[in-house]
Every structure is written in structure tokens, then in C-alpha cells.
Amino acid sequence: MSQVLRAKWLPLLVATVVAGIVLGIETKSFGASFNVYVILQTAAFDAVVGLAQMVVLAVGDMSLAVGGIGGLVTIAIGNAVDVHHWPVAAAVVAGLVLGTLCGVVNGVIIARTQLSGFIVTLATGSAFTGIAYGVTSAIPYSSVPSSIVSLSQGRASFFPYLLLVAFGATALVGAALRWLPDGRTVLAVGGNRDAATLSGLSRTRALVVAHGSSGLLAGVAAVMYMGVLQSATPATGTDWLIISFAVPIIGGTALTGGEASSVGGLIAAVVLATINDALIVLNVNTNAVEMAEGLLILAAVLAGQVGRLASLQGRGRGAGRSRQGRRSASDTAARGSGLEPVAQ
């Protein structure tokens, strides 16, 4: 219970619920069952995209290829069903396997080359997108199987079936990070790379597991997305980047690695979707919606910084000393040379 009270996303959730209730009373459309369904459907999708990024953040890396993999999986499934007339289930499984493989490739390249995930996934991500466009000549497959559509659009009153998918994915990822030895390896490598490798853990394995799961989750998100859109378009994934970072960051996952909160991510997804919808209901300019999301991310990151500094100072002198020493030692030579500090 106390853990819930300390969670970084709690104030945000409370604010959102209060705002939601006020909006529900003040406006007719916001509280309507269909509108709540739309919010939760968006949140379900956002949550899974966020998980795809979160598992990579957990290992202390990042992936810019979540969207690229999503696009490639979308096209693979569309192609298999539309052109080759595969059974839907087989096509979806093949798509998810493909997504996982793409992630594994990322992990292997990063581990082997010692390059940062940023560079590697920037490159592979746009390669995946390029393949998706190449295969389709930029023309979407419009005949998305009805089973996928009915899953993505199905609802019981205000409750979208997709939310069950998001719940399942959140629970599985959370459990894997908590109880699977591979999940613990991911967090240990993310939390203290030296300690983990000195203890005989394999960083390569951690990277492959994290990026592989990220690819799988991106594939799941792709299936959800094509059902909602009723179209398997190669443009899928091109706008996932911001949401993939926003969800885990607002949800309390550390950008530095070693800590992840899948439940926090799910709640962050609901918060983001609610704010997004509320601004539309209130007839706010759509450009302002994006700005609001940006400010929210900034606020979440700042809150995380404040929390970390506070916990640092609360610790013993020696521990704080060595930590801060190491952190400040990473200041650049430029700063040490008396160059004017720039905003960081």
C-alpha cells in the first residue's frame, strides 16, 4: 500500500480522475459511454507501445525502432493475409515472430558493436520502415481480417476489449521483470552494469532479451493498431516515437535503467489518453494537445530528478559522496575549462 502512495504517477492519476469527473459533469460528451470507450481504447494501444520502450529503458538502453518494427509487422501480416491468403492466426503469429526477430537483431548488433542503442535503432528503425514502404509501394492493404477488427473495436459498454490485451501485456512484462531470471538480468545490467558483469551476468543476453521483447510488444501494438484503423498501412509506427517514451517516463520508469514500472506505464497511458480527449472535447486547438503532452513529459522527468536528488541526500555521506563524485566527474572537459554553462 505504501508503495502505491509513493508512486510518482499517483498525483497525476488523482488530478486526471478529478478533471475527468468535472468534465463529465460540465460537458455531456466527455462522460458518454462511447467517449470513455475511445479514451480507453487509445490508452490500451499507448500502454503496449510504452511497454515496448520500457523493457529497453530497463536495460539502460533506448529504442527508436519501436515504430519501424510496428510498421514492418503490420505490412507482413497484411501481406500474408491479403496476398498469400494465410489463415489469420498464422499470419499474426508470423508477424509477432518477425517483430521479435527484428528486436533480437537490434540487441545483437548493439552488444556486438558496443554502439549505443540510439544509433543502432535509429538506423534499423528507418530500415524497417523503408522495407515496409518498399514491399507495399506505399499502398495500404485495406482488407484487415474481421477477427482483428472485431477484437480491436469490440466493447462491452464503455470497456474496449483491447484494454484486456493491455492488461495482459502489462501483467506479463511486470511479472517477467520481477520473477524471471532473464528479467532480473535485464534490470541488474540496467541498474549497475559493472556489478552485473562482475557477477557473471551477460550483458549481451540482457540486451537481446530486452530488445527482443520490445520487438514482440511492438508487433502486438501493430496488430491492435491495424484493427483500430481497419487498414494495414506502411505508415504505421511513424508517429509512435513520442508516445513510446512518454508512457514509461510519466509512469516512473528511470531513463537511466534498472527500474521499470509497467503498472505505472498503464496508468500513464490512461492519463495521456484522457488529457488528449479532454482537450479535444473542450475544443482546444489540436496543436496545443501535443504541447500539453510535451509539458507533461517534462514535468514527469523533473519530478523524477527531484525524487532522485532527495533520496541521494537522505543517504549516508559516503554513499552520496561517491555517487555524486562519479556523476560530476562526467561533466565535460568543456565545462571544466570555464566555458559558460549552457542550459542542460
Partner: protein, 539 residues
């Protein structure tokens, strides 16, 4: 290969554990069991500088073996060789008399050699118990079983006297508790050799006492323990035998401590040789006070540090690694916060918020000890590196910088320091360490900083470059600069400094005028440091 078994090793009959020293009495010449870990004639160089030069180490089951030596004597290198962090260039490592090739820390652990490094290696977000079994957490049906993790951790935690909730976050531990957890982690690997690198450097006296009790216990159960420390009191209270390293060689090898006096140990550490070139011009006229610290406390934990540096003077800040000298310098130039006390430049209290302030408002420069990470931008040219401090001065009226304007300003300083280079357009990365250090210093000369903090200016550079650096520091002081010299090289300190401040555990332990007499100065300084456990520090 349990840690609990080595008593079964061929101990000479009729020698019960009672032969252990109690109190300060001499050790009877015992026939020790054969060595568990042995390093023979080990050499290791880094970039042409020999860190170890034919060093030996012999560890027997059931002893606590002290390893001491000055900074840079090769202690850490020896530990790293023994644990497979890197292979020796020459020499052999033997475990139980068998030569082994320890190619990784993991491999060393399998041979029963565990190490507790000075740097704590804990995953903060994980529980105490999980850190204990990092990478080997007990599972049930393939899932980590936290109940088993906690249950199996408990005896190890109890063994080191950590009465903690095994599921508490590791980041909440005090430094002392973290230290004990590291030891428990080593024990949980069932090690028979335990190497401890300065385990008491960041823990309290009470915690140290507790640690010693545990180490004695382990020894009596047959573990071979290597204890690296600078504190002679601790060593005499705890250890059985001692090995002293100096300049990568053994000066004392595995002698029972009962046979060696404190004086002998200190002498062995610092050497007896009088430095022929120790003659520093101590008649240098000292000018006005330029930099002054008045009862300064800092965010790093410095407390009540007061010092003054005058124009034309070199003041050395000597101490062991981890004493807090670099951290103090970082606070002076505004990289970290001063939490109490005053910082004065030319008698005026000032607040320096960052190195930009320090340089451009107060003419204060800091030449970092880590030239590669903090002193230089390696891929940039010499010209750009030196020019970095004077862009404001050499830029064109309309704001742009050009090589033709930077060049003259840079060249004179680079020439003065006799940097060996192909030209000032050469990237700094291609220069030798000594020349890199000169470039790092040159940028502060170009900026005309008059108060200079040199942090380990001669670490890792060759003898000739070192001599030139020393010459430069003297010239600067003669020219009226106020210099604070942070150095772990006592010979360098004796050679250059007018006054010597000794720092330990983030406090000033004392101050002495430099008489230039190396044996006397080194003795006084080492006394201050080694007795710092009981020293309350200056008022």
C-alpha cells in the same frame, strides 16, 4: 571447496588456532599451512609505466595478511591480477600450489578467490538479498523465488552481523552496511581467499570494529584474507603478516607483524633515499593572500577546512586517494557546492557558481587530474584545446573565431611549455601523456589565470615531462601565481611545495612547512595519516 573446510588442510600438528596473536604480542615463528594463493614475480605495465615489477604475494589459509604501500605502489594492480581483471605481463598466479590462468573475475570466483573492491558494486534498486546472489538467485519452476532468496541470504547476512530485512532496498544501506554486504556476497560464493581493498576507508570506527570481529572469525575458520589499508593501527590490531610494496616491488614480504615495528613499516613504505633534487627555492618571497578557505564545509562532506594560498607560493595538498582533495578543488571552482564557511579571493568573500565564474571573474583555474576526461577534448587540435579559455579575447569584433587570431595567442604558450608536436593543428589524442598534460596546463596559462589548482599534474607521465612540469610550476610561482598543488607523490610535494597540508577523510589533518628533508617530512606526514583514525582534526 567450501570456505568452511580449509582447516582440513595440512596444518602442522600441535598448532591449535590459539597460536593466533592476541593483543600486540609477537607471533611465534609458526609453520604456516601451504599458500592458498600465491603470486610469483608478477610484472604489469600500463603504457610503458611499470605498476608491478616482479612483485610477490603469498596468502595462507587462516591468516589475515596486510598489504600496504604508498599511492601508486601497485597494491590495486596486484589485486586486479589476483582476481583476473587483467593478466600479468610476466609471472605466475598459483591457487593451492597449481598455476592457474585467471582470465576473468568470474573465473577467479570459481577458484575461490573473491574480492571486495573499494568501489561498491551493488544494484541499488535490488534488495539486499538479491544483491547477495546477483546472477545466481534461487528459482522455483524457473521463476525467481523471493522467499528462497531471502531465506538463503539470511545466514550469510547473519554471519557478517547484518541484522537487516533481506528484502530491503540495497540503496538504503549505509556505507558500512554496504561494505558488509559485499563481504557477505563474497562469502556466499564460498570463497577461500578474500581480498579486501581498503575496506575501512569510508566506514565509521564502530563499523570497522564490527568488521574486524567478523574477519577474525573468518580467519579462524580458515579463510585466507588480504587486507589493504593505510591505517597502521588497524593493521597492527588485526593482521598476522605484512607485505609492503614500493614502486611495484616487495620491500617487505610476508613477515609476521610481531617482528616488524611501526617505524620499520613506515620506512619501508616511503623509502630511505634522500631525493637529491629536493632543493626547492624556499626563500621565494610570498605575496598577498590570493585564495582563502575559511571553515569550509561542502556537499561532499568536507568539514571545517581552512587554508590560504599566497601569491608566489606553492601549497601542496597531500593525502591518500579518497581523502577528498579533488573534491575540495571541485568545490573551489564551483563544480560542487560549498555548504558552510567562506571562500575568499584576494580577501573578498566570493561565491563561485561554476568554472566560468572562477576563471573569468576571479582568474582561478583548475587543471584536472583526469586530463583525458576533464582536461582535454581529445579529438580537437592543440590550438582549439588551448584556445578554449580565450575565445572571448581572441574573437573578431563581430564575434567569429578564426585560426589566424587564435594561433598567436596559443603558440607562445605551447612553445613556452615545449610541447612536442607536429603543429598546433595536430589533434591532442596523438600526443604523449606528458605533452597532453602540458596542453592541459597551457590553456590556463593562455587564460592568464593567476590562482591555479594543479590536480596530480604528473600522474602517468614520463620522467622528463615530469621534470618539465615541475619547472613550470616553479616558474609560475616565481612569476607571482598562487598555486595549490594536489599530489599523491610525496617526493613531488617535498620538491615543490612551500607548505604542505595533509588531508584525510575530508578534513585537514595538519600543516607543516616543507623543510625539503624528505625522510623527516614523509615521516611526519605518514604519522598524521596513519593515526588519523583517532585524530579529531584541527580546531
Amino acid at each position: 571447496m567450501s570456505a568452511r573446510e580449509p582447516l582440513g588442510m595440512p596444518v602442522t600438528p600441535g598448532e591449535p588456532p590459539a597460536r593466533r596473536r592476541s593483543g600486540g604480542g609477537p607471533v611465534p615463528p609458526a609453520v604456516l599451512p601451504p599458500p592458498v594463493l600465491e603470486l610469483r614475480d608478477v610484472s604489469k605495465s600500463f603504457g610503458g609505466v611499470a605498476a608491478l615489477d616482479g612483485a610477490d604475494l603469498v596468502l595462507a589459509a587462516g591468516e589475515i595478511h596486510a598489504l600496504i604501500g604508498e599511492n601508486g605502489a601497485g597494491k590495486s594492480t596486484l589485486i586486479n591480477v589476483a582476481t583476473g581483471v587483467f593478466p600479468p605481463d610476466a609471472g605466475a598466479v598459483l591457487v593451492d600450489g597449481e598455476p592457474v590462468e585467471l582470465t576473468s573475475p568470474r573465473f577467479a570466483a570459481e577458484h575461490g578467490v573473491a574480492v571486495v573492491h573499494q568501489e561498491r558494486n551493488l544494484v541499488g534498486a535490488f534488495s539486499v538479498a538479491e544483491n547477495l546472489f546477483l546472477g545466481r538467485a534461487p528459482t522455483r519452476h524457473g521463476l525467481v523465488s523471493y522467499r528462497r532468496v531471502a531465506d538463503e541470504a539470511r545466514p550469510w547476512l547473519e554471519q557478517v552481523g547484518l541484522g537487516l530485512d533481506p528484502l530491503a532496498d540495497a540503496r538504503r544501506l549505509s556505507p558500512g552496511q554496504a561494505q558488509l554486504l559485499e563481504i557477505a556476497k563474497a562469502l556466499a560464493q564460498r570463497c577461500k581467499v578474500l581480498l579486501l581493498d581498503e575496506p575501512t576507508s569510508s566506514i565509521t570506527e564502530g563499523e570497522s570494529e564490527h568488521l574486524f570481529a567478523i574477519l577474525r572469525d573468518l580467519r579462524d575458520q580458515g579463510t585466507a584474507i588480504l587486507f589493504v589499508s593505510h591505517k597502521l593501527e588497524e593493521i597492527y590490531a588485526l593482521c598476522d603478516r605484512v607485505t609492503v610494496l614500493r614502486d611495484g616491488r616487495n620491500v617487505v614480504t610476508a613477515r609476521p607483524l610481531g617482528e616488524v615495528t611501526r617505524d620499520e613499516v613506515v620506512h619501508a613504505m616511503v623509502g630511505r633515499t634522500v631525493d637529491a633534487a629536493a632543493a626547492h627555492d624556499h626563500a621565494a618571497p610570498v605575496g598577498a593572500t590570493r585564495l582563502e578557505l575559511d571553515s569550509v564545509s561542502t556537499e561532499y562532506g568536507h568539514h571545517g577546512v581552512s587554508l590560504a594560498v599566497h601569491a608566489g607560493e606553492i601549497v601542496a595538498l597531500y593525502g591518500l586517494v579518497g581523502a577528498g582533495r579533488t573534491e575540495l578543488a571541485r568545490c573551489v571552482v564551483g563544480l560542487a557546492k560549498i555548504t558552510a564557511g567562506r571562500l575568499l579571493v584576494d580577501g573578498e568573500p566570493v561565491r563561485i557558481r561554476n568554472p566560468y565564474d572562477a576563471l573569468h571573474r576571479h582568474g582561478l583555474g583548475y587543471v584536472s587530474e583526469d586530463r583525458k576526461a576533464e582536461g582535454l577534448i581529445l579529438q580537437h587540435s592543440i590550438s582549439r584545446n588551448v584556445g578554449i579559455t580565450i575565445w572571448d579575447k581572441v574573437r573578431h569584433r563581430l564575434g567569429w573565431l578564426s585560426e589566424s587570431r587564435t594561433r598567436p595567442a596559443v603558440e607562445s604558450h605551447v612553445d613556452r611549455l615545449r610541447v612536442k608536436m607536429q603543429g598546433i593543428a595536430q589533434p591532442v589524442s596523438g600526443l604523449s601523456g606528458g605533452n597532453q598534460q602540458k596542453v592541459s596546463a597551457a590553456k590556463w596559462l593562455a587564460a592568464e589565470a593567476e590562482i591555479l589548482v594543479f590536480d596530480e599534474p604528473t600522474v602517468g607521465i614520463d620522467v622528463a615531462a615530469k621534470e618539465e612540469m615541475h619547472q613550470l610550476l616553479r616558474e609560475l610561482a616565481h612569476g607571482g601565481a598562487a598555486i595549490l598543488l594536489i599530489s599523491s607523490d610525496l617526493r613531488e610535494v617535498v620538491r615543490l611545495a612551500d607548505r604542505i597540508l595533509v588531508m584525510g577523510d575530508f578534513r585537514l589533518l595538519g600543516e607543516l612547512a616543507n623543510t625539503g628533508d624528505y625522510p623527516t617530512v614523509s615521516r611526519v606526514v605518514m604519522e598524521q595519516i596513519t593515526s588519523s583514525v583517532h585524530n579529531v582534526g584541527p580546531a
